[in-house]
Amino acid sequence: MLSEGDWLALWVSIKLALVTTGLLLLVCSPLAWWLARRRLPGQALLEALLALPLVLPPSVLGFYLLLALGPQGPGGWLAGWLGLRSLAFSFTGLVIGSLIYSLPFVLQPLKNAFATLDRGQLEMASLAGARPLDRFFSLVLPQSRAGYAAAAMLGFAHTLGEFGVVLMIGGSLPGETRVASVALYEHVEAGDYANGHRLALVLVAMSVVMLWALFRWQRRPGLTP
């Protein structure tokens, strides 16, 4: 049905989306917690700044990221430190780009989920002997399931569909940085609609299944108040 190259691109896409979403959930959990619970003077400004990558067109953001990840940018230094040639045109670089670009989509739902947690129950958990980390896993996480589902779904879908940034910093290397969205773009751009429609269909079908599973999980009975 699909060419081998397209299947490979799909696989890279899914890997990228899963890795990015996973990392974002990890990174955003403490950040969102901190934003939801503290009230510091510059906080609103910080939140606005974190959302900024969104307002730039993806390929322009990609351009700036390329400068940052290239040998002259901080990314070059980081790459050297990691023993990599360069972060541009590598899967690692893609992940970094996607992290920056999809961060607000994961951060905001988590922040709101944390802000609506019942303070009394958090206190009760402390009194039951739960240390902060234990409390996070035993209370915060299960009670923020809807927020995590929304965060995961927005982050996942957005990373899957993004290609402006990805193309710019990835360079479309098959098996490494050529993702399904880039492949799909190429088909459509080249006027190869038959392959384009097919790939779009598979991408969409796969996403439906994953998102549907996610929403089912979110709505598992016993959750909503």
Partner: protein, 223 residues
């Protein structure tokens, strides 16, 4: 009166100069550009985009559109021929084939052959070279992005259009035209409005050709 010109990305910069020149003698006409890839513009024209003139980066789309009677058939002409170069922003770098085949220069950037005519040309050049497998090839959406890859330092060198880099420093290998299929950029009109005809005709005038050539294209054998 307003003209809307759809132009392939690589020709946007020269076209702006052409427009400026044209408007100095036709102040009443304002000309707007829509810059995108040839493929996008073609798709838009098929869906009735309100363009007056289409300047593509290849000859395939204008012909197709003419066949579909979206473009006025006898208006389809070659307005420029692209010149492919291999470029890097660092000066004093040898970009000749012998040097490339040593595999020191990596990654090399080029436009995607499926989405950009310059990509087709670059692939042809690469096919003649025997690059060691250690050389990574990164593919850009179009020549503009290919240029960014090299300009940012992320790629060691990039296949780009001469028009993009001739005003810049760095090192350059001007690839002999025999090594790649000609990059024939054709255009066409979508309607017969006088203003459209007038500006389109201007693109093939002497001063315009001089400007295009200056910008890094070949126009010698333009029909």
């Amino acid at each position: 009166e307003t003209l809307q010109v759809a132009v392939a990305a690589n020709f946007a910069a020269p076209l702006r100069e052409l427009v400026a020149q044209y408007q100095s003698s036709h102040p009443a006409i304002s000309i707007h550009l829509t810059v995108a890839s040839t493929g996008k513009l073609a798709a838009q024209i098929r869906q009735g985009a309100p363009f007056d003139i289409f300047l593509a980066a290849d000859q395939r789309r204008p012909r197709e559109l003419a066949r579909e009677q979206r473009l006025i058939a006898d208006s389809v002409r070659t307005y420029a021929r692209g010149v492919l170069v291999l470029w890097t922003p660092q000066s004093g770098i040898n970009l000749q084939p012998e040097q490339l085949e040593r595999g020191r220069l990596s990654p090399l950037a080029l436009a995607n052959a499926r989405t950009a005519p310059y990509g087709v040309a670059a692939e042809a050049v690469l096919a003649r070279l025997s690059l060691p497998p250690s050389v990574t090839l990164v593919r850009a959406e179009n020549v503009a992005q290919s240029f960014h890859f090299a300009d940012s330092g992320a790629a060691a060198a990039a296949f780009v259009a001469l028009s993009q880099v001739q005003a810049r420093g760095g090192s350059l290998w001007r690839i002999p035209p025999s090594q790649y299929p000609a990059i024939i950029q054709q255009g066409g009109r979508l309607n017969d409005r006088p203003a459209t005809r007038d500006f389109y005709r201007y693109l093939f005038s002497g001063p315009a050709r001089a400007l295009i050539r200056q910008a890094g294209y070949q126009v010698d054998d333009a029909q």
